[in-house]
C-alpha cells in the first residue's frame, strides 16, 4: 500500500501575501528505493530518489506518511544535482496535523531536479537462521545460512534494493515510539512517555488488506538463487541482496545467504556439574576460517537446526538445535545441542581424608587439609570418535592437584581435562585434590614458595 505521499506545492510569491496561492504542481513517484534493515534494533534506513519539478523561487514540498512507522525527526532531503542553487530552508511540522512535513525550498533553477530523501522507519526486520546437515559419520556438515526479511512497516516497498546490517547499533529511542509521537520533537519540558503496549504489528493489522502479490522481483531470473554480497563497514557487516526485492507489507521472505558443504566439525562433549548438571552436553565445534571453508565474513547470530543424514537415500534425522552468537572471522564456534545420554562422564569420590590439623592457643581448630580422591569414568557409546572436555571447579583457591592426566588451569579455582575417545570406548583417570583451610592456607603458600 502506498502510504508515503510526496506532493510538491509551488507558492507564487505575490509580494506581501506569502500564503496567497498554493498550487499543487506534481506528485513525483519514487524512482529508486533502498532499504538498509537492522536486526539489533527495529529500524530501517530508507533512501529513495525522486525527481522533483522545481520552479525558480520558493517551493514547498509536502511529505506525508499516515499509517506508516516513520520517525519524522530522521527525515532529510538532499538535492543530487544543482546542490549549490537549491537551498532547503527548513522543514516544518505544521500545527495540528500529524504525519506531515513541509520542506521550504528556495530554488535557483527551474525544471527537474533529482533529490534523495532518507528517513528511518520501524516495522521491517530480518533475522539469520541456519540449517546444518551432518554426514553419517558426523565428521563434516553442510551448513546453509538463510536470512528472513519481514515487512510490517505499513508501506509497500516495490523493487527495493535490500541491504541488511549485522551488528549492534547504539540507539536512544525506539523508532516505533518516535513514529507514534503526536509532535515529532514532543512539547517543551515534556518527559517522553514510554511506548504504549500496542505493538506496531498490531496497529498495522487493524487495517489488514488483501494483497494479491508479494514478491515479484524474481521475474525472468529464477534460474538461480540470488547472491548476497557481504562487506565490512565500521563495526558492522553489510549484506546486499542481489538485484531488487518487492516486499509487500505483512509479508516476509527467506533468502539464502550461503551454502557450504563439508565443513569439518568436531563432536565435542562437555561436562561441568556446576553449569550443566549431571548429563554431558553435546557441542558441535568448528571454526569460522578458511580451513573450515568459511571465514570470509563473520556469521550473524541465529538459530541452527542440525540434521543428520540417515541413509544414502537422502533421508534425514533431526539431531537438535542451538542458538548461537555472532561469530567473528577466525573464531571458534561451539554450538550447544543439548544434553545427551550416549556420552557419559561419572565422577566418583573414592576416598576422603582430613589431615594436618592446626590448633590455636585455646586448642580450637585453626587449620586443616581435605584430601579427596576422585575417579572419573568417561564412556563413549557412539560409533564415532568424540572429544570430551571435563571442567572441575574447586571450592577454594588454595588447592593442589595430583594426577597422571594432563589438565589446564582455567582460572584460580577451575581446571579442565580434555580427552579423545574412540568409538564405543571407555576411559578412566584419577586425581587427588588437596584443599587447604584456615591457617593451612598460609602453610600451603609457604610450601609452594619453597
Amino acid at each position: 500500500m502506498k502510504r508515503i505521499i510526496l506532493a510538491l506545492l509551488i507558492i507564487t510569491a505575490i509580494t506581501g501575501v506569502v500564503w496567497a496561492k498554493v498550487d499543487l504542481v506534481t506528485l513525483p513517484s519514487r524512482d529508486t528505493v533502498q532499504l538498509t534493515i537492522y536486526n539489533s534494533a527495529d529500524m530501517t534506513l530508507v533512501r529513495e530518489s525522486r525527481a522533483l519539478t522545481l520552479k525558480d523561487g520558493k517551493n514547498k514540498l509536502q511529505f506525508s506518511w499516515a499509517n506508516t512507522l516513520i520517525d519524522p525527526t530522521s527525515l532529510e532531503m538532499l538535492p543530487k544535482a544543482s546542490a549549490d542553487k537549491i537551498d532547503i530552508a527548513d522543514l516544518t511540522y505544521p500545527p495540528r496535523v500529524r504525519n506531515l512535513g513541509l520542506w521550504n525550498i528556495e530554488s535557483g533553477v527551474s525544471g527537474k531536479v533529482p533529490v534523495e530523501i532518507t528517513y528511518l522507519t520501524s516495522g521491517l526486520s530480518w533475522r539469520a537462521f541456519y540449517m546444518g546437515t551432518l554426514t553419517e559419520d558426523e565428521k563434516t556438515m553442510r551448513l546453509q545460512g538463510y536470512v528472513r526479511v519481514t515487512n510490517n512497516s505499513g508501506e509497500d516497498y516495490e523493487n527495493a534494493q535490500t541491504r541488511l546490517i549485522v551488528g549492534k547499533v547504539h540507539i536512544l529511542d525506539q523508532i516505533a515510539e518516535l513514529a507514534r509521537r503526536q509532535y515529532p520533537y514532543e512539547r517543551p519540558g515534556e518527559v517522553p512517555v514510554p511506548p504504549t503496549a500496542r505493538p506496531a504489528r498490531q496497529m498495522l493489522e487493524e487495517k489488514k488488506e488483501m494483497v494479491d502479490y508479494a514478491f515479484t522481483a524474481y521475474r525472468g531470473m529464477a534460474s538461480r538463487p540470488k547472491e548476497i554480497k557481504k562487506e565490512g563497514l565500521s563495526e558492522y557487516f553489510l549484506y546486499t541482496i542481489e538485484g531488487t526485492e518487492t516486499i509487500t507489507t505483512g509479508w516476509s521472505k527467506r533468502l539464502q545467504s550461503f551454502d557450504v558443504d563439508e565443513v569439518p566439525v568436531v563432536n565435542l562433549y562437555k561436562y561441568e556439574q556446576e553449569r550443566y548438571g549431571d548429563p554431558v552436553v553435546r557441542f558441535l565445534s568448528f571454526k569460522n576460517d578458511k580451513e573450515h571453508k568459511l571465514g570470509e565474513t563473520p556469521i550473524p547470530g541465529g538459530m541452527l537446526k542440525v540434521y543428520r543424514s540417515a541413509d544414502d537415500k537422502g533421508h534425514l534425522s533431526y539431531t537438535g538445535q542451538s542458538s548461537f552468537k555472532y561469530i567473528p572471522v577466525d573464531e571458534d564456534v561451539e554450538l550447544n545441542l543439548g544434553a545427551v545420554g550416549d556420552v557419559v562422564v561419572e565422577p566418583t569420590l573414592m576416598d576422603y581424608e582430613t589431615e594436618n590439623y592446626r590448633f590455636d592457643q585455646k586448642r580450637n581448630i585453626s587449620g586443616w587439609d581435605e584430601v579427596r580422591k576422585f575417579k572419573i569414568e568417561v564412556k563413549n557409546t557412539r560409533d564415532i570418535t568424540v572429544k570430551v572436555e571435563i571442567q572441575r571447579n574447586f571450592p577454594t583457591q588454595y588447592w593442589k592437584l595430583e594426577t597422571n592426566q594432563d589438565f589446564e588451569k582455567v582460572d584460580l579455582d577451575t581446571v579442565k581435562f580434555t580427552l579423545v575417545l574412540e568409538p564405543r570406548s571407555k576411559q578412566a583417570f584419577e586425581y587427588t585434590l588437596t584443599t587447604y583451610h584456615g591457617v593451612r592456607q598460609e602453610d600451603s603458600m609457604r610450601s609452594r614458595e619453597r
Binding site: S74, P95, P188, P328
Partner: protein, 383 residues
C-alpha cells in the same frame, strides 16, 4: 500575531483623567505588536521582546496587558519606553487585577505621544533543541557534521515573523505558529577529524565471554570529536543534543551507525559519541590468583590485617581486518602496589588504571592476540 490570536495577548491603553479616577475610562487604542524578538540564548527559559506603539495622553495612562491561554511569568514582565526618557514618560506602578492573567501599568506622560514601548517577558513552552547529523567517511577518519536547530512553539501564541536570537551567530527571521515545530540547518562543518575509540571497562563488562552462553560481549565504540579550530569548529560551544551518525558505504549511499546524546561541548573540549558495539574485539579476563599473604593476627589468632597476592590476566583478540586501539580500564580498590605488569598503564585515579593497547589487524594466521598480566598486591586489607 496580526489578529490571529488576539484573544491571547491583549493590550489596552486606558486614559484616566487626573483626579477623577474611575470616572471616565476611555479605550484609547489596541496596539498591534510590531518587532518581536524570541531570545533562545538561555536554555532554561525563553525571553520574548516585543515592541508596541502606545498612544499616550498627557497625564496618567493606564495600560492593560492581559494574556489568556499562554504561560507568562508575571514577575518577569518589563516595560520600557523607547522614545522618551524617564522624566517624560514614567512608569509609576504595576498592579495585578484579581483572578486574571493580566496587569495594569500606570504610566505618567508629560504630553500626547505615540510612544514605542518594549515589553519583555519569559514565555513558557517555546524553546529550541539542537540535533546533529554526522556522516563518516569509509575509513572513519572524519565526519561531515551538520547541526539542526529545532524550534518548538507550544506557548499558545503564534509568532508571525519574529527575529530569533541564539547565543551566537546572526539573528534570523522566522515565523512560528502555536503547536508548530521547525527544523533548520544552522551549522555545517565538513571533514571534522574523528578518533575512533574502543573501550573495555572491567567494572562494566563481563570478564569471560565463554560463560555467557551464546551472548556476545560488545566492546563499546565511540567517535571522539574535539571542538577546536583544527577540526573546523571551535568558534563557539556546541550545544548538547541528540547526534545521529552515519557512514559512507562506498556505494554512494550511507548506513546508520548509531546515535548518542552529547552534552555541551565548550571550545577546546572533546565529546565522545557512543555509536555501537564491536563484536570483533574479544576480551577474556580471568583471575588466576587471589591469595591472602602477610597475615597479622590478634591474641585470639584471628586474622586482623592481611595483604593479597593477585594475578589478573586478560586476553585481547582482534578479529578485525584493521588495526584498533583498545582503551582498557582496570580497577583495584583500596591501597595497592603493582608487583609486575607486562603493559604500560596510566593511573587515572587511586583505584583506576588505564591501558592503551594497540592491536594489529587479523592476519592469515588468525586474530591478533595480546595478553595483559597484572600481578599486584592489595595492602592492609581488613577482613
Amino acid at each position: 500575531m496580526k489578529g490571529k490570536r488576539t484573544k491571547l495577548l491583549g493590550i489596552m491603553v486606558l486614559l484616566v483623567c487626573v483626579g477623577i479616577a474611575q470616572a471616565r475610562i476611555k479605550l484609547v487604542a489596541l496596539p498591534e505588536r510590531a518587532a518581536t524578538v524570541i531570545r533562545l540564548d538561555n536554555p532554561m527559559a525563553t525571553l520574548i521582546e516585543e515592541e508596541r506603539v502606545l498612544t499616550l495622553q498627557k497625564g496618567l495612562n493606564k495600560v492593560d496587558f492581559s494574556w489568556k491561554g499562554v504561560s507568562i511569568d508575571a514577575d518577569s514582565i518589563r516595560l520600557r519606553a523607547l522614545d522618551h526618557p524617564d522624566d517624560k514618560v514614567t512608569l509609576l506602578s504595576v498592579s495585578y487585577p484579581p483572578n486574571e492573567a493580566a496587569l495594569v501599568w500606570d504610566i505618567s506622560s508629560d504630553g500626547d505621544y505615540a510612544e514605542t514601548a518594549r515589553i519583555s517577558y519569559l514565555l513558557s513552552n517555546i524553546d529550541r533543541l539542537i540535533t546533529y547529523k554526522a556522516v563518516a567517511d569509509k575509513p572513519e577518519t572524519y565526519v561531515d557534521l551538520k547541526s539542526y536547530l529545532v524550534l518548538r512553539n507550544f506557548s499558545g501564541e503564534d509568532f508571525d515573523k519574529a527575529r530569533v536570537l541564539l547565543d551566537y551567530g546572526e539573528a534570523f527571521e522566522q515565523g512560528i505558529d502555536h503547536e508548530e515545530t521547525k527544523q533548520m540547518l544552522f551549522l555545517k562543518a565538513d571533514k571534522v577529524p574523528i578518533t575512533k575509540v574502543w573501550t573495555f571497562d572491567a567494572a562494566k563488562l563481563p570478564w569471560d565471554p565463554e560463560k555467557l552462553e551464546n551472548k556476545n560481549v560488545g566492546i563499546p565504540v565511540s567517535y571522539r570529536i574535539v571542538n577546536e579550530a583544527k577540526s573546523g569548529l571551535g568558534k563557539f560551544a556546541l550545544w548538547g543534543g541528540k547526534a545521529r551518525l552515519f557512514q559512507d558505504d562506498g556505494h554512494e549511499s550511507t548506513i546508520f551507525l548509531g546515535e548518542d546524546v552529547t552534552g555541551l561541548v565548550p571550545v577546546g573540549e572533546k565529546t565522545e559519541l557512543y555509536i555501537g558495539d564491536s563484536r570483533d574485539i574479544v576480551v577474556t579476563q580471568r583471575k588466576m590468583k587471589d591469595n591472602q599473604i602477610n597475615l597479622q593476627k590478634n591474641n585470639d589468632e584471628r586474622v586482623i590485617l592481611y595483604d593479597t597476592d593477585e594475578i589478573i590476566t586478560a586476553k585481547i583478540e582482534n578479529f578485525k581486518d584493521s588495526q584498533a586501539v583498545l582503551t582498557m580500564i582496570q580497577h583495584i580498590p583500596g591501597q595497592w602496589d603493582m608487583e609486575k605488569c607486562n603493559m604500560k598503564y596510566e593511573r587515572k585515579d587511586a583505584g583506576t588504571l588505564e591501558f592503551e593497547i594497540k592491536l594489529p589487524a587479523r592476519t592469515e594466521a588468525g586474530p591478533a592476540v595480546k595478553e595483559l598480566e597484572m600481578h599486584y598486591h592489595r595492602r592492609n586489607v581488613r577482613p
